[in-house]
Each structure stands twice: as C-alpha cells, then as structure tokens.
C-alpha cells in the first residue's frame, strides 16, 4: 500500500525526466546511500569491510563499466581485466613519477589512460562484431598481461615485476583503516553510478542503445557508429580503469598482472549477465552475487556436509563451487536473461499493484 504513484503528477518535462520518477524510489535509493554511509560503518566489522564490502564496491564499479559497453552498447568484451590493469598501472606511474600527485587525480588519470587504450582496442568493433569482437578483445587482454609483465618501465623496474603502493591520502586525510578505505570507494561508486545513470538517460545513452538494438537503423537516423561505439569503449574503459586503480591501490595494495587476468574479465562479464544487462542496478546485484557466492559456499557447504555427517574436503568445495557457479550462469541465461535486475523490477511492479493484482 505504501509503494504507490497515485497523486504524483508531473507537470513539467523536467520532472518527468528525473532519475526516479516515483517519489518512493527516490526516498528508497537515498535511504540506501545514507545507510551505506552511516549505517554500515556502524555495523560492519573489519572482515566485512576488507573481504566483502570493499571488493564488492570496486567490482561493482568495474561491472558498471562493462555493463555500459556490453549491456547498453551491445559490444561484447572479454578483455575488461586488461583495462583494469591499464588503469592500475597507469595510476601507479602517475603517482610515483609525478611528485605530489593528488590521489584522486592519479586514479582518474589512470582511468583516462584506460579510456585511451579502450578507444584503440575498440577500433576492431567498427569492422567486426559479436563473437569475432569478443575474441578480438582477448587480444587486448593477452597483450596487456604481457606488457605489464615484461616492459620494466610500467613497474618502475621492480625486479619481481610486482608493484605496491601505500600511504594513501586525500587532502591530508590518510586512508589506512578499512573503514576509511570503504568510505573512499563508496564516494567513488556513488559519483560514478550517478554519472552512468545520466549518460544512459541522455542522448549518448540512446545512441549506444540504438547501436545495440539495430545498428543499421541507428546509422540511418544519423548516429555515427564510430562515435557511438568508440565513446562506449572509452567511457566503459574509464570506469573499468578507475576500478582497476582502486583494486590495486585500495584493495590489494600490491599487485602483479595476474590480479587482472582473463579470469577477472570473465568474472566481470558474469556479473553483468547475472546482475542484468543494460541495468545500472543490475551491476551492483551481479557484483554482490559473485563476490559473496564463493565465500558463502565455503562457509555453508562444510556446515551442510557436517549436517549429513559427510566431511567435504577443501578441493571438493571448490569443485562444487565451479559446478554451482556454472549451473547458475546457465540457469540465469535460460530462466531470466535480464538477470537479477529484472527480478527486482518485476517485484516492484507487483508491489505497485498490490494488493489488487489486476
């Protein structure tokens, strides 16, 4: 009964073009953000921050970036991990090579570098599409894996090829404790989610979706495919790159190219599929699902086995994890191709009509 739009009339187009056209939605999302800023810091412990919340936030940002490209512009990519790596290594180099580089600028510059490379590796999308493009993006993945391992300049000639960064601070405020790291990431993700939402409801977002839905028709009504696709690659890579920089700087602290391997690329793609292609909210759902699932299985399976008197080995659990994970992907593709986000909106629509279902 509470979730209703009755009586909310829009008298201007501006009001109708807001992010949340239903007042309750706005209240709800603002509530969630407020809870994330105030409630969670009070409730969560260090483990929650470090092992779940921080990775969740950063991977959400990356998934959001991938979703802009895959879900909104319809360009499939298997190389997202590479752009995370570019963001991380570029930000690292900006930070160590330029004295007094502020952290936030460093991270954003990392994102920009990633966006530049995104444009470069997006060029094949002008000629090839679909599956062929997916494989082309793997070229970016393997090239970056190699470049960051082999070209010493990127790692400041570290003998092991692993780089690390510490003593992060913004405006003299040190980011050391898990809580500070969490809040730092949260600020980023809130801003970026807002930007993503704006892009997708503006002209550029419509161009992307037009290219996704019917590229020939899009071109005929005056959308330049090159601009639309490359801008999608650039914006997506920017998001992913910033996420990569955060992953390296804030989450790992020290990393090597393996942290951004092809497995990471697949993982990001799965987040988008499971969360919901073409949905901002879905990116968050997907990231949450994939971050939490393995941890959940690791905790629950032994307990479950214990219940039935079976000892499940560590190896058994991770095999079970593979099986369950794979099955879930197939399950989602068959049952709900639009992912968790669609489920959410179905629930919302039901709620809107409740208790009168017809």
């Amino acid at each position: 009964m509470i979730y209703r739009e009755n009586g909310q009339f829009k008298t201007t187009y501006a009001a109708d073009q807001q992010i949340f056209t239903i007042a309750q939605d706005k209240v709800f999302v603002l509530g969630v953000i407020a809870f994330a800023f105030i409630g969670i810091p009070l409730l969560a412990d260090e483990y929650m921050f470090r092992a779940i919340l921080i990775p969740f936030l950063i991977l959400s940002l990356a998934a959001l970036g991938v979703n802009l490209l895959v879900g909104y512009c319809g360009q499939i990519t298997l190389g997202a991990g590479a752009f995370m790596a570019i963001g991380a290594y570029a930000a690292y180099n900006f930070m160590i090579r330029i004295d007094g580089m502020p952290l936030i600028f460093g991270l954003l510059l990392g994102g920009l570098a990633s966006a530049g490379m995104g444009i470069l590796f997006g060029i094949p999308s002008l000629r090839v599409r679909g599956l062929y493009l997916a494989v082309a993006t793997l070229a970016a993945q393997f090239f970056c894996d190699w470049a960051f391992l082999r070209l010493g300049w990127f790692t400041n000639y570290s003998s092991s090829g692993s780089v690390s960064i510490s003593n992060l601070s913004v405006f003299g405020w040190g980011i050391d404790s898990p809580l500070e790291k969490y809040l730092f990431c949260l600020c980023f993700i809130v801003v970026f989610a807002f930007v993503a939402k704006n892009l997708t409801r503006a002209s550029i977002g419509r161009q992307w979706m037009a290219i996704r839905d019917m590229d020939v028709a899009a071109e005929v009504i005056g959308i330049r495919p090159m601009w639309a696709k490359l801008s999608a690659f650039a914006v997506s890579s920017f998001f992913v790159g910033v996420a990569g920089a955060l992953w390296g700087f804030v989450h790992l602290g020290s990393w090597e190219p393996a942290a951004f391997s092809v497995d990471r690329s697949f993982q990001l793609l799965f987040m988008v599929i499971i969360g919901g292609m073409g949905s901002i909210l879905g990116s968050f759902f997907g990231a949450a699902f994939i971050v939490v699932l393995p941890i959940f299985l690791n905790q629950v399976l032994p307990a479950l086995g214990h219940l039935f008197g079976i000892e499940i080995s560590t190896a058994g659990i991770s095999h079970a994890e593979l099986i369950i994970f794979g099955s879930l992907i197939v399950f989602f593709l068959i049952v709900e191709p639009h992912g968790l986000a669609r489920l959410w909106s179905i629930a919302k629509e039901k709620l809107r009509l409740w208790p009168f279902p017809h």
Binding site: A202, S203, M209, M214, A217, V220, G222, V235
Partner: protein, 260 residues
Amino acid sequence: MSRKIGDVILDLQNISLRFGGVNALTDISFDVREHEVRAIIGPNGAGKSSMLNVINGVYHPQDGKIMYRGKERKKMEPHMAASTGIARTFQNIALFKGMSVLDNIMTGRNLKIKSNLLLQALWLGPAQKEEIEHRKKVEEIIDFLEIQHIRKTPVGRLPYGLQKRVDLGRALAMEPQILLLDEPMAGMNVEEKQDMCRFILDVNDQFGTTIVLIEHDMGVVMDISDRVVVLDYGKKIGDGVPDEVRASPEVIKAYLGAGH
C-alpha cells in the same frame, strides 16, 4: 491545397548497382521535386528497397551520379545522408526494441543535440535544458501521431501497426527534408492504412516534407502520390503522374504478366 511543388531537389542519374554478379539496379534515372510525394512501385525483387538504400547511403552504386540540391553528392555513409536531411522508415520495422517509444523517437533528435559527453555525464544545465527542449519537440510528434498513451512502453511490446507509427515518428523527429518510406502500410488493415495515409499527407502538407515512398497497394499509391516511378528487374519501365503510369502498356505487362 496550400503546398506548392518546387524545383528538383534530388536527381538520380544513370544509377547502377551490382552485388557480386547480380545486377540489382541498371541505369536508372529519375528526379524528385521539392514538396512532392514521389512513389516507387514495382513487383517483388524489382529493386525498390535497393533504390532507397542508394539514396540514403547504405549502398554505394558502382555507376551513376546523385545530384542533391544541384550539387553532386560524394560517396557517403548513411549517417552523413541523415545529416543532410534524409530520413527513412523501414520495411521490416527496425525500431530499437529495448527502448521505450519516447526514447526511440528521441534518438531521431540525436543530430540536433549539441551538448558534449561531459555535460551529459553530469547532467549539467545546458544538457538538461537541451534535453527538455527536444522532449517538447518529440511530444509534438507524439501528439501528431496520436500515440501519447504508449510513450513509456517498450516498443517490443507494441502491436505492429503502432510500431510502424513509431518508426514514422522517429524519422519525423529528424525534421527531414526528404522522407523515405519503405512500405509504410505493409501488413496493415484498412483502418490502419487510412490513418497512415492521413499522417503521410499531413506531414507533406504541414511540414512541406518531400516524400519518397515505396508501396504495394496500388490504390493508395495512385491516391496520394504526385508522380510514380515503376521499376522491374532493376530497370525503370515507367515514370510519370499516376494516370500516365496506369495507362502504360509496359507497366501493365510487368504487373499482370505477359498474358494480357
């Protein structure tokens, strides 16, 4: 009738188009005058759609010249054609099926949106203002096509007739000078056809848009068009006002077969 047929706006001269060894169009010439309704008719496979595709840059003819507003047009991509004021609808509806009616028509305004990516990303003043301005224009089109009730519906869920209308709306949103319509009435029932005819004539009338139209329904064609081109097997076999074409023996032969 307030409208006035003007000068030649588009002149196609000796167009030939081949795919591999197949001749889709052979040495076709005709012109289109400003503000007129020009129809292209012909049996299946006559090359009508190919002709439209040549006009808006999807296909590039091997031979021939295209004069647009008195100047020779260079080889161009569809989006460039669009920016010179050529819009079109599609035979098999090519709407963006993941988007709402409103968004579909808004894409038609794309060429006119000037604010850059950064402004859009932050939804800053100019971008927002622009968005609202174009929204107003689009709402006018929605009113014109009488589809107010479905503006937030995803187009994939609409019935065929309405989809055709949205397709037209999207083309109109571009405020084109030449509007290419590829079988706008195919698969419609009589009432829907009447509505569509009305829209086409109103567009032509109110906005002065030049219309090039492909249609199978001879009755409709003869009723609404000013001049008609007839194609058969990629060749032009007739050109003139409806009555002339109707009387042409070659056209009758192509349409009704050799027996008559």
